[in-house]
Symmetry: C2
Subunit: 588 residues, 2 copies
């Protein structure tokens, strides 16, 4: 832009080539694939392929497990895992992120599925996508900034606890019961005796297996290759690494094999997932009116039932996605608008293949990154693998024991909990524990949707209160020509502070001093309420034979104050403090 | 307190006398009458009596008019005018304030009266009083600070427009119709032809009379006595002054006399107020369950119907009261807690004599002040006058023409509108026009209760947005030992700004410079989200071979940052900028 100012005369040729450059840049921004695809090589593809394959080993069992959390038939978890990647590869700006079903999104879909069955979740995906896309176009990215660390940590922890709680009864083989946090524990305590020993045994073994592998893997680190290691050691390292990453898949496969074997021999030991619909999802627009359990719901009925979750689902999706994108943008600043657009479109397109709401997954993105993914092509590989599973493996999914899936979910949720946030907040800022605690409690005992909004409101109250009570520094100065008070605020002056400042000054600036000097050095901006309050203050001080001086105020602030009463312009002074008294202007 | 630290050894005698002094001070604060009554003289009483009598000339017609606004039988307006003064005289801290029915409180009671009749308004008075009293005990006075000037001006203007609009049809003699802003204009336009010529004539004459007197009085000023005037001139001045102040009473009396005269002769020209119940109000607890129009409502039903107005009525009462108390505290700082307690108790006690919600009245307080009231005794005089009117004058009230009352209300509302706020906001701060406009529109077209809360929320969004986007000053400095960027924020750092700061620094501090120096001089406080963001930033900058330096941070802020990661303590530096580079600490 600066260049254009310097050389005003631009030839037509130049301006055209510039237009081309601009168009190219816009294209690169809006379809990042055009930036890196031309230089894409086979070597990069091999790396992407390996990473994508590894991620699919996580994604397939996760997809099935998350469908269970949402209360959807199993295949819907896999439907959710394919389309997002295909859209994101073209327009996504963060190369390693993996988009698809997540535990929290599944939990948020639970109530809509309960009300309307699968079409309810699919329509929610479509609507969330539209809203996120719109928010991107309207540049509403700043909304994400109001989700502070304590709130996100609290929400994640509460969601993880709720999800894990719901799975305890399934792990014990107890059928039915409520899906809320309190309800599921009630079921466990009231109907605990109904437990099925084989389900419970398999579930516990799964949990122990997964914990062990995770902790062993953690000890060995995720490094698969070290120069100072021998070839054998490196091979073992590589094996441990892949084994650790695919532990969920392994647990599910082993569980299914056991169940299948006994089933074939006529021993129906475990509660199984049951038949899964084979084949790829149909590609069609989501239905806007839904018939569920024989009742017809118009689009309006559906929207009414959605209620607050129509706001919270897209917001949580965006918050999760942006947090992950930021964590993996490694020092480059993130194009939030582009990420909103990508996530929005991914959801809209995903809804055409019967997906539940999707967003960036932290686990799978981490696996993708650790496995050496170079571009979003790795996501495409994962997507293709999921489609492959849908086309050819669904018949085997029927044999997955429910207890195994519950075990997988419970262990994953344990690692999702951010208990360490409590220590961290205690060490950095104790008052932040309050919004944290409020969010956890409200999310668990009321609902996730309201919990997070109540948490944010609490957090905002802190900020608003701090703007209402700025720290004022009041010093008395004595000069040869007179005494006065100097009032300095080191923070901005907002309307909520207007009366506080006036009262503080009236209260503290008593005595012989003839001048009250408000130091405007740090005041960047004031509003009408503060300006009016200064006007009142001036009159009140004059009633006490004191003069109000606005000292070193910036031009914009000065104009705001004079807007109230042009006479106030007499009260402005600049320069040096002593001069004020020498001028003798202090006398009223 | 400071004294107690100096001389630790306090004799029993001393501490006892000190306790006495403390008790006395507390008594003076909680029952201000104990402070001034001992030195009260007959001279002061005469001044208070004159002021109190003048105020009653305003209060009686106002009370009747406000009862009409609320939809209550006329006597309820007078019931509302007596008890408040008797309570406030003992515990009120502002000597000239007049507490009683106001136009806005009457408007806020309209919906409860429509739902439950008079008992609904009385119960609301009781509950509002309890809530205000409780808020006083809990020190919640700061809530009032969030009612900024644009919001209060907008709310008052909208309420005045709505009240005046409702009276237009009554002034024209049209019966019935809706009481909402839109509804009442609809009635006027649809049923305008039903107007009664005598009602309309009387109404218009009243309006013209009141406007003329008000403007003449304004020209002459409210000064009743001037030294440089002759005796005759002063007498005339005094007459004009009292005439101006009692213009409402005069209009009502003249209107009633005309109506009464014609009525006696058998000409029923005007719509009259109709029979008014004679006598003092019964003293009894308000009923918590209400039977209205044959339907029984339990306390829970009533609360449910109250809804948002259960929050907005006490809040608006408090905002009105505190604003008036501040305006008349003339340079002394106000004891907000005491005012909350006084207003709360006044409402609770007023509900025992069938009052609608009461609060400080701006008009009557101004009259009281201008008439030379010295203490709250003048309020007692007003209260006694109102009781007198109830006991002996109610039979004459029946002849007050409705059109006269409407005229009184319309003129009063015209002067209540704060249209000048628009010019003032335009001159001082244009963005403040947005919350103003939103509040006016929402109050008029939705409801007063929600309008004011939506307005406040809009206003808060401005403040929150400004905390999310602090102004960062980024300067490049070059020294003999190395280059760096100095980042200074002149406002506090709140969580919503955390990501913004990180991205700005990553974005702007590129290039050869090896150090990014964050100047903590103006940072008074940070929260965990900002601290975490600094931690991420440090790692990201290290990835670019840049070192993050926290320069001249305060101890509290430093501890918050170190709470995230103890290693960050290595990044703090104090002293002078150049030293940082000389130390060679800049290298990563």
């Amino acid at each position: 832009m600066g260049q254009q100012k310097d050389d005003v005369e631009v030839t037509d040729d130049d301006s055209e080539s510039r237009k081309k450059i601009k168009t190219k840049e816009l294209l690169k921004r809006r379809a990042p694939i055009t930036g890196w695809l031309p230089s894409y090589t086979l070597g990069l593809f091999l790396q992407d392929f390996l990473a994508g394959f590894t991620v699919s080993l996580t994604e397939i069992p996760q997809g099935i497990a998350y469908a269970v959390i949402a209360g959807l038939p199993t295949q819907y978890g896999l439907y959710s895992g394919c389309m997002g990647c295909f859209i994101y590869v073209i327009i996504g700006s963060c190369r390693v992120i993996n988009i698809g079903p997540t535990a929290i999104m599944a939990l948020m879909s639970q109530s809509t599925v309960a009300a309307f069955g699968p079409p309810g979740a699919v329509l929610m995906t479509f609507l969330s996508g539209c809203l996120i896309f719109l928010a991107g176009l309207l540049n509403l990215g700043f909304v994400v900034d109001f989700f502070s660390y304590p709130i996100i940590a609290a929400f994640t922890t509460a969601a993880a606890i709720e999800i894990a709680s719901c799975q305890v009864k399934t792990l014990m083989g107890i059928k039915g019961g409520s899906d809320s946090f309190l309800g599921s524990w009630e079921t466990v305590f009231n109907r605990g005796s109904e437990f099925k020993k084989w389900d419970l045994l398999l579930g516990c073994v799964t949990v122990i297996f997964l914990f062990t592998v995770k902790e062993v893997g953690r000890k060995h680190g995720t490094l698969s290759y070290r120069k100072d290691w021998s070839k054998t050691k490196n091979l073992i390292g590589r094996f441990v690494y892949i084994f650790t990453l695919s532990r969920n898949a392994i647990a599910v496969i082993i569980g299914s094999v056991i169940a299948f074997t006994y089933h074939r021999r006529g021993y129906y030991l475990f509660t199984l997932t049951g038949s899964v619909e084979q084949g790829l999802p149909p590609f069609k627009l989501p239905s806007f009116s839904i018939t569920h359990n024989g009742t017809y719901y118009s689009f309006n009925d559906v929207l009414e039932t959605y209620g607050a979750s129509l706001a919270s689902t897209p917001i949580i999706a965006v918050v999760e996605h942006i947090a992950i994108a930021k964590a993996f943008s490694k020092g480059r600043s993130l194009d939030a608008t582009q990420e909103f657009i990508s996530l929005g479109l991914s959801n809209v397109m995903a809804s055409f293949v019967q997906s539940m709401p999707i967003t960036g997954s932290f686990t799978r993105t981490a696996v993708n990154h650790a496995s050496g993914a170079k571009t979003t092509i790795s996501g495409v590989v994962t997507g293709v693998m999921v489609l492959f599973a849908l086309a050819f493996l669904t018949s085997t999914f029927a044999y997955i024991p429910k207890a195994t899936l519950s075990g997988v979910i419970i262990v994953a949720m344990f690692y999702l909990c951010e208990f360490e946030a409590v220590t961290l907040l205690w060490r950095t800022k104790k008052p932040d524990l309050l919004p944290f605690a409020i969010t956890v409690i409200c999310c668990l005992f009321f609902s996730l949707e309201y919990g997070i909004f109540i948490g944010i409101a609490t957090n905002m109250v802190f900020v608003l209160y701090s703007t209402a009570r700025p720290k004022l520094q009041i010093e008395e100065i004595c000069t040869a020509h007179g005494d006065g008070f100097v009032v300095t605020s080191k923070t901005g002056l907002h309307y909520a502070a207007a009366e506080y400042i006036r009262e503080k000054i009236l209260d503290k600036c008593c005595g012989e001093a003839t001048a009250v000097i408000v130091n405007g050095e740090y005041v960047g901006n004031i509003d009408a309420t503060v300006a009016k309050s200064f006007h009142t203050l001036k009159k009140e001080l004059e009633g006490r034979n004191q003069r109000l001086i606005f000292f070193n105020f910036k031009k914009a602030v000065r104009e705001s104050i004079i807007g109230i009463d042009a006479k106030l312009s007499e009260n402005f002074r600049g320069g040096c403090l002593e001069d004020i008294f020498e001028d003798n202007v202090v006398r009223v």
